[in-house]
């Protein structure tokens, strides 16, 4: 999982660097006619996504103590929070006034947020598998490597969002 995460970090690092490279060579950013992304709404959903790491941490601690109920609750909470975040992303795409083929800004915005969204969806699917295993009694205090691997991935997706949010949303207002 660490190798997967390392590769994923390289992809996001490359994409975000290309965003800044194009930004640095542009006279106006975002391009003329495009408003910087609205912050209020995305800050709220950022808190939800980043907050979803806490139930996962709780779930990891719970299963280490053999608390299956705690594991199920933690995983379910994180799943719902991730689902809310991805739901907002779908709504945000609907409301955007630019398309992914309009200019480099649009292409990078959709590509980076879309790739991150795909990772959240991937995390939700992983969560489903882990939850099914949790409900069918496959985990114990001694045997829960799957939960740890899922937790590592979920935290990574959250950390990546900090960079995506700072680069695409916050820095556009600077």
């Amino acid at each position: 999982m660490l190798l997967t995460i390392t590769t994923e970090a390289m992809i996001f690092g490359g994409l975000l660097s290309s965003y800044f490279f194009i930004r640095a060579t542009s006279k106006e950013w975002p391009p003329h006619g495009i408003e910087p992304p609205e912050l209020g709404r995305i800050i709220f959903f950022t808190v939800i996504l980043l907050g979803s790491s806490f139930p996962v941490i709780y779930a990891e601690h719970a299963i280490k103590k053999g608390n299956i109920r705690g594991l199920r609750i933690g995983l379910a909470m994180a799943f719902v929070m991730g689902l809310i975040f991805i739901g907002n992303q779908a709504l945000e795409y609907r409301d955007l006034t630019f398309g992914w083929r309009d200019n480099a800004y649009g292409s990078l915005f959709y590509l980076i947020t879309g790739l991150h969204g795909a990772h959240v969806v991937g995390g939700l699917l992983m969560s489903l598998v882990v939850q099914i295993k949790a409900w069918t009694g496959r985990f114990s205090a001694k045997r829960h490597r799957t939960v740890q691997v899922f937790g590592m991935y979920w935290h990574f997706v959250d950390v990546v969002w900090i960079f995506v949010f700072s680069s695409l949303y916050l820095s556009a207002h600077l």
């Binding site: 660490l2 190798l3 390392t6 970090a9 390289m10 690092g13 490359g14 975000l16 660097s17 290309s18 965003y19 800044f20 490279f21 930004r23 640095a24 060579t25 960079f163 680069s167 820095s171």
Partner: protein, 121 residues
């Protein structure tokens, strides 16, 4: 300290994998940092020193990874085909050495552009 490190390596845990992949992480962070602060360096030229410091710091971190990988390679005579912990460490240590050395080159290459290319001037 050395014994604790060896124990972590033999365990095959996170510290070992971090030592192997540290160069890739350092390169990614370096690329992102330099790209995201290029505009700032255009406005405040003294910020270039922070960029140089980032290059030096991340190379130092990667060199620490190289040292651990070197220890992994030297700590055993087992070949990678031996299917032992030592053999695994030897192989992964070599992978880490090559990867980290390559990434030091990339970080240097990225860092060199700071004093020589002044796109914003």
């Amino acid at each position: 300290m050395a014994q604790r490190l060896q124990a972590q390596i033999d365990k095959g845990g996170l510290p070992m994998w971090l030592a192997i992949t540290i160069g890739i992480w350092a390169w990614t962070i370096h690329m992102f940092f330099l790209a995201s602060t290029a505009e700032l360096a255009c406005r405040h030229h003294s910020f270039e020193w922070v960029m140089h410091a980032a290059t030096a710091g991340l190379i130092a971190v990667t060199l620490a990874g190289v040292a651990v990988c070197l220890k992994m390679v030297r700590s055993t005579q087992d070949s990678e085909e031996a299917a032992t912990v030592g053999g695994r460490n030897h192989f992964l240590g070599l992978v880490g050495l090559i990867s980290n050395a390559f990434n030091i080159g990339l970080i240097l290459l990225e860092g060199i552009y700071v004093p020589f290319l002044h796109a914003c001037r």
